[in-house]
């Protein structure tokens, strides 16, 4: 029996060695032979952020179908594999492992939450696959020197400083208050914005935080009200932002609120209702834009899904555009050559006329500043800045009071 056991172990070891060797020899560096290339999308499709995940998913399906209708990329059809993350790093890591090993995807698109993107980024980079980040804004993502990471939206630092600069220049406040979600996104946002306006002589009179899952913000808002600032900067997602505005007006706090791009969506306007009037915020994309590529994207999205795309949809769509153009420019699926090709691209996407990536893979884009106003009895985002996109004039919050 001793011999039998030894033989058995020997056989098992042999099988393992053979499989490992076969994997090393046959492991595809590019996509496997055949007619299709798989790409993965990771997004929060269930849980509290599911509404944003839906935008990402619908844009990805639209983009992939369009690529395939035009004959694919370099003659290969694209197959989209969608994984739910719930904005949970543990779940996302498992999903990405599945995409990399079982599905053998060529590129990963996602995620919404920066914490998730940062968690899955190293394993995607180690596996030498492309990572397109269409939504996560944490500045760090494109500052770690990864060759295969590309972000198609402005990062947190870019949008926050552009927001702060507009506020100082156009609203000329003496004092400001800040309110943010108590995590890395909120803390980073408040730090960047606060330092930027402070350097231009604005005094920060209140800095408040709320935890994830908070539904009542009155205690934070009451403190801000007592500090009596000229302008209030808020970092929050759609749901929280709508509650914050509603509850601010409830306790009689009518001041100029400014927010980041996270609230750019029609769902937000529906949720907040008239309490959103007067709010100034960053937008990466406006479906009302007149530019041709953007207009076509909006029409296709509307036709396919029966609703207007939020800006996350535009970021995802542009990511697929960069992917397609990059591979075509490289003329090969060799990942290093494709990464180089994407860095040398200059293209028009849904989000801008001239999109190009810097050395870190960060797209250089200018964000829009919009104000929620009533146009023909309906809540609309009116573009205030930059001048070339301007649609209307800024209206101070006093004009909206009680409305």
């Amino acid at each position: 029996m001793a011999l039998g056991k030894g033989t058995l172990i020997g056989v098992v070891v042999l099988i393992v060695v053979v499989i490992a060797a076969a994997y090393l020899v046959l492991a595809p560096t590019g996509p496997a032979a055949g007619g299709t290339v798989k790409v993965g999308l990771i997004a929060p499709l269930t849980g509290g952020l599911a509404e944003h995940g839906l935008d990402m998913k619908q844009a990805a399906i639209l983009a992939v179908d369009e690529i395939n209708e035009q004959g694919g990329i370099l003659g290969k059809k694209i197959e989209l594999v969608i994984e739910d993350t719930e904005c949970n790093p543990t779940k996302a890591t498992a999903a990405v492992q599945k995409l990399l090993t079982q599905e053998n995807v060529y590129a990963v698109f996602g995620e919404y939450c920066s914490t998730v993107t940062l968690a899955v980024q190293p394993s995607i980079m180690e596996a030498k696959r492309l990572l397109f980040v269409p939504v996560s804004v944490a500045t760090k993502i494109t500052e770690q020197g990864y060759k295969y990471t590309f972000r198609t939206c402005a990062n947190q630092w870019m949008q926050t400083t552009q927001n702060a600069d507009w506020v100082v220049e156009h609203l000329k406040p003496k004092t400001a208050a800040m309110l943010g979600i108590n995590d890395d996104y909120g803390r980073e946002g408040l730090k960047i914005w606060g330092e930027r306006v402070k350097s231009k002589g604005v005094k920060i009179v209140a800095e408040e935080y709320f935890d994830k899952g908070t539904t009542d913000f009155t205690s934070q808002l009451s403190k801000i009200k007592a500090a009596n600032p000229d302008v209030i900067f808020v970092v929050a997602n759609i749901r929280d932002a709508a509650n914050i505005l509603k509850q601010a007006h409830e306790i009689g706090l009518y001041k100029q609120f400014v927010m980041l791009g996270g609230v750019t969506s029609d769902e937000f306007l529906k949720l907040a209702g008239d309490d959103a009037l007067g709010l100034v915020h960053v937008s990466y994309f406006e479906p009302t834009t007149k530019r041709k590529v953007a207009r076509e994207f909006v029409e296709k999205f509307k036709k396919r899904w029966g609703r207007f795309p939020a800006m996350y949809a535009a970021g995802v769509y542009d990511a697929f555009l960069a992917f397609k153009l990059g591979v075509e420019k490289a003329g090969t699926w060799d990942v290093d050559k494709v990464a180089d090709a994407i860095r040398s691209l200059k293209f028009e996407g849904a989000q801008g006329l001239n999109i190009y990536f810097d050395e870190n893979g960060q797209a250089q884009t200018k964000v829009l500043l919009v104000q929620v106003q009533k146009v023909d009895g309906e809540l609309k985002r009116v573009i205030l800045y930059p001048p070339e996109d301007k649609q209307g004039e800024y209206i101070p919050p006093e004009k909206f009071k009680g409305g």
């Binding site: 499709l45 269930t46 849980g47 509290g48 599911a50 509404e51 995940g53 839906l54 108590n182 009179v205 408040e208 935080y209 709320f210 935890d211 899952g213 908070t214 539904t215 009542d216 009155t218 205690s219 934070q220 009451s222 403190k223 009200k225 007592a226 500090a227 759609i238 749901r239 709508a242 509650n243 509603k246 509850q247 409830e250 306790i251 009689g252 769902e267 529906k270 949720l271 209702g273």
Partner: protein, 304 residues
């Protein structure tokens, strides 16, 4: 920065208003614990379903959320009874044979997993039925502001919510103290075996308790819906706080939960005011830890 008295007053009022809500959600949870001796991890989901049913009723009938609230609460209460009869009862019967009437079901892993499973199931069900996008139920009452001299302002909706919460808690207390059914519930809570001996049908009491508990959670969801938003995971956001309230107040003690609700609502707001709002959540848990340290059975624990 110097804190002005008006600020303290505003925070106290807001804290008490939120405390009433904590109380009404915590009371349902503590009743299930006291009478049925199980920890219902799906409690928050009844709160969520209540809000969604109110939303559906409002969109179908065009009524006001405050008017349809009782209907939604009763509907959810019936769901509660159904779950009790279908899922919990077989386990009670099986356990009674082994341990007798006074078995502590909450120690049974099957109940813990069953209620956690229900919670996940309900959240996913809401995602399928109503979608992931948060909804708001507009009520004209949220637009009405009550202005108090000194620069304070509250919406009528919030004031009504507080009144409904307090009135419901008072009604529940009277029901438990005065009516025959209420006394039977308290008897079952104190000693199920003895209650059975004197002719109380404990399974029926469990049905009634489940109805009251889930209906209270649903009522809270309905009356809060116009102020906050309705979304599938809203129950998960309140259930942790509800457990803090229940544990602080004394597990199974109704009055304890009401007091703990107000205590935590107040402490969070004053803690936020003086320590900084990033510590609001921490304050609630610190209160719980201090109470457990000084009085492990909770503020009013031990008394029924």
């Amino acid at each position: 920065m110097i804190v002005q008295p008006i600020e303290v007053i505003e925070q106290v009022i807001l804290g008490l208003m939120i405390g009433g809500i904590y109380g009404i959600i915590g009371v349902g949870l503590t009743m299930i614990f006291g009478v049925m001796r199980l920890s219902n991890f799906a409690h928050g989901e009844f709160y969520m379903i209540g809000a969604y049913i109110a939303f559906t009723l409002v969109s179908v009938t065009g009524g006001d959320p405050y008017i349809v609230a009782p209907l939604a609460a009763i509907a959810v209460g019936l769901i509660g009874i159904l779950i009790n009869k279908l899922l919990f009862k077989p386990l009670y019967e099986e356990m009674k044979e082994i341990k007798g009437g006074a078995a502590f079901y909450f120690q049974d892993l099957r109940f813990i997993m069953l209620t956690i499973g229900l919670s996940i199931l309900f959240v996913d069900l809401a995602l399928v039925l109503w979608g992931p996008i948060p909804l708001s139920i507009p009520s004209p009452l949220t637009e009405v502001r009550v202005i108090i001299p000194g620069g304070l302002s509250f919406s009528l909706a919030r004031i009504i919510t507080f009144i409904v919460a307090v009135a419901t808690l008072a009604a529940l207390y009277t029901f438990l103290k005065v009516t025959k059914t209420g006394k039977a519930i308290r008897a079952t809570s104190q000693n199920p075996s003895a209650a059975m001996l004197v002719g109380i049908n404990t399974y029926k009491i469990y049905d009634i308790t489940m109805f009251l508990s889930t209906a209270l959670a649903a009522l809270a969801g309905c009356i809060l819906a116009p102020i906050y938003n309705v979304y599938p995971t809203m129950g998960l956001d309140v259930v942790a706080k509800a457990f803090v309230v229940v544990i602080t107040g004394g597990m199974g003690n109704v009055i304890g939960s009401i007091l703990a609700g107000f205590l935590i609502g107040l402490a969070e707001n004053l803690g936020g005011l003086f320590l900084g709002t990033e510590y609001k959540q921490v304050v609630a848990f610190i209160i719980m830890i201090i109470v457990l340290w000084l009085k492990p059975e909770g503020i009013l624990g031990g008394k029924k």
